[in-house]
Amino acid sequence: MVAKTVNQRAWFLVLPVLLVVAMNAIIPLMTVVNYSVQDTFSPGVFFFEGTKWYQEVLSSPRFHGALGRQFLFTAIILAIEIPLGVMVALAMPRTGPWVSVCLVLMALPLLIPWNVVGAMWNIFALPDIGLLGFGLNWLGFDYNYTQQPVAAWFTVVLMDVWHWTSLVVLLAYAGLSSIPDAYYQAAKIDGAGRFAVFRYIQLPKMKRVLIIALLLRFMDSFMIYTEPFVLTGGGPGNSTTFLSIDLVKAAIGEFNLGIAAAMSILYFLMTLLVCWVFYTLMMRGEDES
């Protein structure tokens, strides 16, 4: 590889992107920052409040609750989706007509509008007319996600696994298909077992795509809004109220602009921090290979 040439005029190529993203990112972000340090009693009259809203948010049990639920949710779905996705990818056929069929069927949930996903699962899990709810009750489980917090969590997690595991499968599969056949033959000659092949050939080759999978799944699950909102509306009680749901409630439902804005900033900073860690890891991986 030839090293990249230094060329400051490349900025002109980046400029259009910079402008369109900056318009969408910086202006709204400044508006949010503005709200987060001001208070208002009547439209158009604002006065500076400093860090009052931040202190209020940081010490409110409601924010702590939503934050805790958010981390718990993200941890659970990552713990299920990443191993399950890798497992399915390992089981996929590598060649033949079935590959396309499998890929298309698996990608299908990814292309359904998020509120349709929520509505679909809302009905699918109803205890009287939905297959899942009816089936579980028929098996003898007392299951009703509109009243039991545990059942609501189970449904939200299952829905997310249904919705997003395929993303991990597709990524892992892409990593696996980049392994030349010669590697497997060499392993066979050396008498390597199933686990050794996975540990020393397949896993290292998948490392990069798995970091991408982890990054994408973390970002998207951390900002999840539409699906649980349509499925449970954040309930029963507050049991499935995640950060975004709480935020929209505060901003649009209660019109608590200061609180909502301070929450937004904290929320954004947290996502940014975690993603920066992932990004650094990913770039390091890219430099090595």
Partner: protein
């Protein structure tokens, strides 16, 4: 060993298909039958719900509006991202790494943070309730994604190609359109697919940036659900129809989809 593998894939796909089957099942029932009780398949098969959607302007306009802003967004995202991705894959310039992360960080921004300011911003530009407003708003996450994927694909093309073309006397725009773009055609296809997908499935921004004339299908669905009681059959049919555009697009890019999900980095 072979048998277990087939079972794993089969069970997984079955798990994915069940809720979709249930949606289709309900879309062919009348609302009364749905609420009447549990049944594996429609007892009195009806296409009434689909007929309503295709004849009632509020419904089919919802689809037209959605497709309009999704296509606008795809075209804007890809055409803006192409030169930028080229710059990132070929040159080093001041602040390039920071800029790249800043772009990506917008893909990470929770849309819920931006809803209110977006409504204000697009109202101020008098774009509120137009497809263009939604198309531009979706650029927030689609443009960085497009840059990311395209940069991956472009880095796979050897730099010697560029140098040879410049020595042969090609100007940059001529080279870019005539030689370089055909080389990464698959990458452009996959990028367009991703932009299409993420714009099609997003609803929080699309719903809040429109009110009457540009109302997307997802908003039509939620509003219908709350105003006209609970027309479950109609809702199921509308939901089933939202799967169709994605399914068509995915069939076209099926060969590249896995690579595209890896953002061209495999």
């Amino acid at each position: 060993m072979k048998g277990t593998k087939i079972i794993v894939v089969f069970v997984y796909i079955l798990f994915l298909m069940l809720p979709i089957y249930w949606l289709l099942n309900m879309s062919f029932k009348t609302t009364n039958e749905i609420l009447g009780g549990f049944s594996w398949y429609p007892q009195s098969f009806t296409l009434e719900s689909y007929k309503t959607i295709f004849t009632d302007p509020t419904w089919y306009n919802g689809y037209i509006n959605s497709i309009t802003y999704v296509l606008m967004n795809t075209v804007i995202s890809v055409s803006f991202a192409l030169p930028a991705a080229y710059a990132f894959s070929r040159y080093r310039f001041m602040g390039d790494k920071h800029l790249f992360f800043w772009l990506l960080s917008n893909r990470m921004a929770p849309p819920a943070v931006f809803v209110l300011p977006f409504v204000e911003l697009y109202s101020a530009m008098s774009l509120f309730d137009t497809p263009l407003a939604v198309a531009l708003a979706h650029c927030l996450f689609n443009v960085p994604l497009a840059v990311w994927i395209l940069e991956g694909f472009m880095s796979g093309v050897p730099r010697e190609v560029d140098e040879t073309a410049y020595i042969d006397g090609y100007s940059f725009p001529h080279f870019f359109v005539k030689i370089f773009m055909p080389l990464i055609a698959a990458g452009i296809g996959v990028t367009a697919f991703f932009c299409f997908m993420f714009s099609w499935v997003e609803m929080l921004l699309a719903k809040n940036l429109t009110s009457v004339s540009a109302k997307p299908i997802v908003a039509v669905m939620t509003r219908t659900a709350s105003t006209s009681g609970y027309e479950l059959g109609l809702l199921a049919a509308a939901g089933a129809l939202t799967i169709v555009p994605g399914a068509i697009v995915i069939w076209f890019v099926r060969k590249y989809i896995a690579k595209g999900f890896a953002l061209g980095r495999v």
